[in-house]
Symmetry: C2
Subunit: 511 residues, 2 copies
Amino acid sequence: MDVTKYNFYEELESILEAIEGSTFLSIDGEFTGLDAEGSCHIAPFDTPPERYSKMKNGSTDFLLLQFGLCAFKVDEEKHLYEAKPYNFYLFPSQSHRNAPDKRFMCQSSSIDFLVSHGFDFNKVFREGIPYLTSQQEHEMKSFLEQKHSEQNNQSFTVMEVPENQREFLEGICEKINTFMEEDDAEPLEIKDCNGLQRKLIYQTVEEKYPLARLETRTGEKKERYLILHGAKDAEELAKIDRERQAQQMMELDIQVGFTKVIQAITKSEKLVVGHNMILDILHCMSHFYGPLPNDLEDFKSITSTVFPKLIDTKLMANTPPLKEFIELSSLGEMHQTLQSKPFNPVIIKVAPGFEKYSEEASSLHEAGFDAFMTGSCFATMCKFLGDCQKPVTDFLLPSSPVIKAFVNKLYLMRIADIQYVTLDGPDLEVNRDHVFHVTFPKEWRASDLYTLFEPYGNIQISWLSNISAYVGLHNKKNSKIAFEVLSKENHSFQVTSYAFHHRNKTLKLST
Amino acid sequence: MDVTKYNFYEELESILEAIEGSTFLSIDGEFTGLDAEGSCHIAPFDTPPERYSKMKNGSTDFLLLQFGLCAFKVDEEKHLYEAKPYNFYLFPSQSHRNAPDKRFMCQSSSIDFLVSHGFDFNKVFREGIPYLTSQQEHEMKSFLEQKHSEQNNQSFTVMEVPENQREFLEGICEKINTFMEEDDAEPLEIKDCNGLQRKLIYQTVEEKYPLARLETRTGEKKERYLILHGAKDAEELAKIDRERQAQQMMELDIQVGFTKVIQAITKSEKLVVGHNMILDILHCMSHFYGPLPNDLEDFKSITSTVFPKLIDTKLMANTPPLKEFIELSSLGEMHQTLQSKPFNPVIIKVAPGFEKYSEEASSLHEAGFDAFMTGSCFATMCKFLGDCQKPVTDFLLPSSPVIKAFVNKLYLMRIADIQYVTLDGPDLEVNRDHVFHVTFPKEWRASDLYTLFEPYGNIQISWLSNISAYVGLHNKKNSKIAFEVLSKENHSFQVTSYAFHHRNKTLKLST
Ligand SMILES: Nc1nc2c(ncn2[C@@H]2O[C@H](COP(=O)(O)OP(=O)(O)O)[C@@H](O)[C@H]2O)c(=O)[nH]1
Ligand SMILES: Nc1nc2c(ncn2[C@@H]2O[C@H](COP(=O)(O)OP(=O)(O)O)[C@@H](O)[C@H]2O)c(=O)[nH]1
């Protein structure tokens, strides 16, 4: 089901119910870009903190345009799930006048990619649901509350009316007199006055019209103008104030928009499943929670407060026994693989009203569909793991201890020896004795490195600059001899151990 | 006429003819945003270099999505113009594999604005014409030329084939043997090899297959693979090389795309008219010429090489005698005003094939339409200025000396005393003795400043921070006495002259 700002409030209740009633949730996001210009590329010998920092710096200026959420509810008797896939269009337009005018980055290749998969940019920009980070929401709420409690208690210095403003002010007062005498008049608009004149009008109204209430508004062309409300008595005046305050609180609530869905996920404490989901989680945190911290451990701790239970299906697919049967673990290919032997796809019934997606009619790269696919892969993988148990568990549920091994581990792409970051604990320490840091003349190419390491077998190169690289030996047994030979010689190149170089780098960063 | 990448090459010839044959051109742009987060806002006491620097820093990360160009050709006998309005959709998708993957910024409020005026984002992202700056074009061209001249002269070190790659290489060689024996076979694709394997294939082919030619390509998933071309003899091999080089040059040419239109405008040396056009010119220069220089004087000199003759209709509208009759100088309102007395709108005939716009069917804020409107306002203003001459010039042309006074002056918004920046000369020096720099406690509000300056009449405040502002007296006669009184006293606030503060600021910047 597509959800835009036009049907969001209509559907919100049932969305929250679907979350509450689910066995597990799956999510997916579509973004305006993947890596910022000049940001460091992810590399095979990144450590988890390095990877986090690269992804944080490279991705958080981009926008999350589409959020897919699919609620899966198990039918334990029939051994099937009912799915409710939602495809949310998101855009931070300024529905609320104090809302931030968000600047965001786009990457041409990502826009090309979305366009080629039929993404509707007009729809997302026109009908996207707004959102605020929890931090912004709290700030704006306290700001409003303070303003409301201060109402009538603000102390503005009273100034003498300058000679050349007297006539102007008299004209305004005449208008106000007429207005206050009318019954049930529409609020009076006072346009075309500068800041000085607005100040004079404010102080005049406060002095002479105890039953009137002024407010400053901003027009279409960013011009400021005044609105005057009139009351018959103190009681009506209090009512006007209450209504205005309620109106402002409601506008804030509308701007909070989609963030309510994330808050409901948090509250539900449900298991949230994603495919290669670290980027989705970074975006969720920075769009709906607040700016990402610099430190990975801080990121872990705030993420656990928002998403207490996460599972990454890409990690499952790359872990035995599933790994042995899943060669290609991109979402589409993995889903394809899970349709046939040795796998036995779990039946997913799309709930009535959610017919937009069926597993046949592929809308790959639409967030709602990808979330739906991810969840259905997850169900099938759980079932397969059940079949692998001794004795066989007939229809293994996500709550099983077998699945627990995957909870709160996010897959790290293209790192051979550290497959995941652990959200609820310390990360793995690995041995990288087979990796060397090499510096060389800038004329060197890959082939020179291949030649240098040729006696020790095949290598993996990870360029750090045009004069340095990490080089990993495929054949770890050769590590010692390679290091002994290459580190001793004093040539145009220099070889040090990974550990030595990494320690120095970390030392440099922390001083 | 809408121009996208689908009809650009079909129309290019006639676009270039329309430019060459025009009396003058008018332009307009639509952008993804106006001012970057944290960039300084334009302010009433900016100097031209300050304003340039604020606009440069605030605007160049945004994208120019739509470029309006209207060619006007006079019919001197009939006293009318024929107009050819073009509305170009622009987008830097990567048609060429070496083209930059451009990152760009968007501003929510600008997206909201475009959406509310019916802007079609799907069309611009899907059908936009690519472009390159002249700098990028030259770099890419020299890169290709060098690559082509080096062909076959590159020196790659030959490495011994590692044990575990022998079998793989033999398999490849078998494939190549079969392929080379076939007649007129399609080029052979060699997929799924890593960098080492590609190197081994390259050196094997160079050694063993003198009539074969390899190239590396990048697939959809960014994976690298090889293509092998086979020739019957040296002559055919040379032909393959020539074709590949021609193909690469053509791909570059396609990526240059819309920049050809700008280059034609430069070559034509035609007068280019815009409305409040400084931002349009900044974007044109940074999109089609190269990164904007830091210094205003450098900007002036490169701009003159691209657009030798510019006129800003907003400056005309704010200069007597037009100023007396044009109260509101935004494009739509100005156009409205120019339809009736004392003005006498010039007849604009839309050329056959360009019927998309008529002056009635408003498409305000579509770049092609705004360019069309701007040019037609310009024609009517010229005519009005002719009517003001003594003796009257019946149908004053843009080439008249009367119009010369406006050439190469770009309007500066919201600066009272410096109306424009002069592109072909030094800027005006102005007296700002009536302006003061004031620092004060952070509790101060506007009202405190009004109170402080109350004895000297109305003021204009330009906030610099929460503890400082420029304050301008409306009544300049009071400047001396205000300065004497306020600068002497040693209070919680401090008042210095504008000149003193500005000199210090400039000194600080240059050291
Ligand atoms: N007496 C009084 N003055 C006010 C009040 N609100 C704003 N002002 C003053 O009126 C002037 C104009 O304020 P406002 O209309 O909010 O526009 P702004 O200055 O652009 O924010 C400022 O000098 C404020 O200090 C008020 O409630 N009472
Ligand atoms: N002998 C030879 N080696 C090449 C040639 N072009 C590339 N190579 C080598 O082949 C390897 C793979 O290069 P390439 O396929 O361009 O992929 P890249 O390394 O990802 O840029 C590198 O080690 C290059 O040095 C060539 O024309 N001749």
